[in-house]
């Protein structure tokens, strides 16, 4: 069974640009979570999608947005990039009745 896959692995953007990160959950998983892992700050909750809808978002500005497609894959968009957006962005998925998340390997976003 394929795990959670994220693309791209690495992404370098210039301040002010937009970044798009993608996530494919494990087959059968309907919930997708996005986390930001900045150096020294642990995992910060960004967004939760379930059944195609945004269920909740963390304490991040509106320029962090995303969506979930009918096949449950998800996209995270970060507009007007700032230097402090540089981080590892992790996607996790789960299915109903199972409480643990399965994480992907992440996308390393570097803003220069």
């Amino acid at each position: 069974e394929a795990g959670v896959t994220q693309s791209p692995t690495h992404l370098i953007k210039t301040r002010g640009q937009q970044a798009t990160l993608r996530c494919s959950p494990i087959s059968g998983h309907t919930s997708v979570y996005w986390y930001q892992q900045a150096l020294g700050l642990g995992l910060q909750f960004l967004l939760w999608y379930d059944e195609g809808e945004e269920r909740n978002r963390g304490n991040f500005p509106p320029r962090f947005s995303g969506r979930q497609f009918p096949n449950y894959s998800s996209e995270l968009n970060v507009n007007a990039l700032e230097l402090e957006d540089s981080a590892l962005y992790l996607c996790a998925s789960r299915t109903r009745g199972v409480y643990g998340y399965t994480f992907g390997s992440g996308t390393r976003l570097t803003v220069v």
Binding site: V4, L43, W48, N56, A92, R94, G106
Partner: protein, 114 residues
Amino acid sequence: GESVGLHLPTLSVQEGDNSIINCAYSNSASDYFIWYKQESGKGPQFIIDIRSNMDKRQGQRVTVLLNKTVKHLSLQIAATQPGDSAVYFCAEGDSGGGADGLTFGKGTHLIIQP
């Protein structure tokens, strides 16, 4: 929101010794706790979980202890091996999947000395 914190950012142990990684949580409403292991360049990997109706759970070489009275969680790794070197995160949440997802601590870097 409330956060889960760890007492030690770095823990160094001798190969073969037992490791104990501690975690304090503050949200008394949390009823589900997980430990994840994150190796360099990889995403967090599930190790073991425990629900609030339990105070101990054992896996292969790992044991999680939950003390709800003092809101404390610990991960014990028996006979630590070089492959155990990683950052360990505790996380809390509610069993329904949570409006806020899981709340993670900052992590403890476990270093294995030969």
